[in-house]
Symmetry: C2
Subunit: 176 residues, 2 copies
DNA sequence: CCCAATATACATCGGGGCTATATATAAGCC
DNA sequence: GGCTTATATATAGCCCCGATGTATATTGGG
C-alpha cells in the first residue's frame, strides 16, 4: 500500500493538510497497521495533485506557512477503490524488539528485563489510548480495526507477562 | 533494525550464504517480525565484509555460481550486542488488509468477503507452518518468539471469524 | 519422457520511503 | 527567560524493496 493510496484513503474522511494526514496515523482507528512520514507524504500529495486525484486550496495565514488543504476528487475516489480491488500487497511487520528477543542469550539479563518492561509499557499505553479515543470511530470499518488492534495488544501483553521468565535468566527471577 | 544487524544476528547461528540468510526469514523462529530482500542483503554483506564484521570464504562449485559463505567475526559479535544495547527502533507494522477494512464501506460486499477469506487462509497457513517446524527452535528466545507469533495469529483469526459480520453487508450474510 | 516448476546462488537498477534537517512562529511550562 | 511542544511545509541523502537477469539442477505432473 503506497503512501499515495493511503493519503487518498484518509482524505475520504474529509479535507486535510499534509500535517493533519500525518497526525491521523497516530489517532484512533488508524493507530496501528498504517503510517507514513512527512518525507513521503508531501511528495505524494504533490504527485496526486499533478494527477488530478486531489485538489488543493491554499489558505494564507498570518506569519505562518500557508496551509495547503487537500480535497479528494471524484477521480481520486475511483483510484482509491481501484487500488483496493487489485490484489493487496502482503503485510509487513518488523519488530526490533522481537529480533532482540531472538538473541536474548547474548545479552545481559538486565537488558532483557528492561526491554520487556519497556515493551509492556508501550503496549499498555497503546491500549489506554484506544480505550479513550479522541474521536469515536465513525464507520463499522474503524470499529472493526480498532477492536482487532486491541485484541492483538491484549494477547501480546498477556503472552509477555506469562512467558517472560522463559528468557529472563534465573538471576532476574530471583531479583523479583 | 537495519539489514546489516539482522544479517549479523542470523550468522550467530552458524555460517551461511546470502541466499540462506534470506531463506531463514521464511523459517520457524524468524517467521514473522523480521525479513529482508536480496536487494538489501547482498550489499549489506559486502559492507559488513569491508568493515571486518564478517569474513567470507568462496567455495567454488561445478557449473554454479561460487558459494560465498559468510562467518561472523569477534568484532561482528560485539557490533551485534552493541546494536541491541542501544535504544531499539519502534516496531513497524503495515497491513494493506487492515487499511482496506477501514474503507470497507466503499467496496462491493463481495470484495470485503473475499479479502477476509483470503486473510484467514493466510493466517491458517502460517499457523500450520509454525506447528510443524522444519528445524525445531534451538534457543529459549526462538521458542518465546514462535509462541508469541502463534498467540497473535490465533487471536487474529478468532477476531476475524467472530467480527466479520460487522463489516460484511447484510447481502453477504444472506448469501452464506 | 518432456516440460514446467522449484530450488540453488549471486547481483544490480530503479523507484519508493524514512531520517534528519531547515525554516518560522506561538503557546505553555519550569 | 529559555526549553519543549505544536503548527506547517519542504528537501537531500541514504536505505531498502521489488523486479529482473544470469546459470544450472532437481523434481513432479502430464
Amino acid at each position: 500500500m503506497d503512501v499515495r493510496t493511503i493519503c487518498l484513503g484518509i482524505l475520504t474522511r474529509g479535507d486535510a493538510t499534509g500535517y493533519e494526514i500525518k497526525k491521523s496515523f497516530e489517532e484512533d482507528g488508524y493507530q496501528h497497521f498504517v503510517e507514513a512520514s512527512f518525507g513521503s507524504i508531501y511528495p505524494a500529495l504533490n504527485r496526486l495533485t499533478e494527477e488530478g486525484l486531489v485538489s488543493v486550496r491554499e489558505e494564507a495565514q498570518e506569519k505562518r506557512p500557508d496551509r495547503k488543504v487537500y480535497s479528494i476528487t471524484k477521480a481520486g475516489r475511483q483510484a482509491l477503490v481501484a487500488a483496493l480491488m487489485k490484489p493487496l500487497p502482503e503485510d509487513k511487520h518488523r519488530s526490533p524488539f522481537v529480533f532482540a528477543m531472538l538473541f536474548s542469550h547474548l545479552l545481559p539479563p538486565g537488558r532483557v528485563t528492561a526491554l520487556i518492561d519497556a515493551y509492556i509499557a508501550y503496549g499498555e499505553a497503546k491500549l489506554a489510548q484506544s480505550a479513550q479515543p479522541k474521536t469515536k470511530p465513525q464507520t463499522a470499518g474503524e470499529r472493526f480495526v480498532t477492536g482487532l488492534g486491541r485484541a492483538i495488544y491484549l494477547t501480546m501483553l498477556d503472552y509477555l507477562r506469562t512467558h517472560r521468565a522463559e528468557i529472563e535468566g534465573p538471576a532476574a527471577e530471583a531479583a523479583e
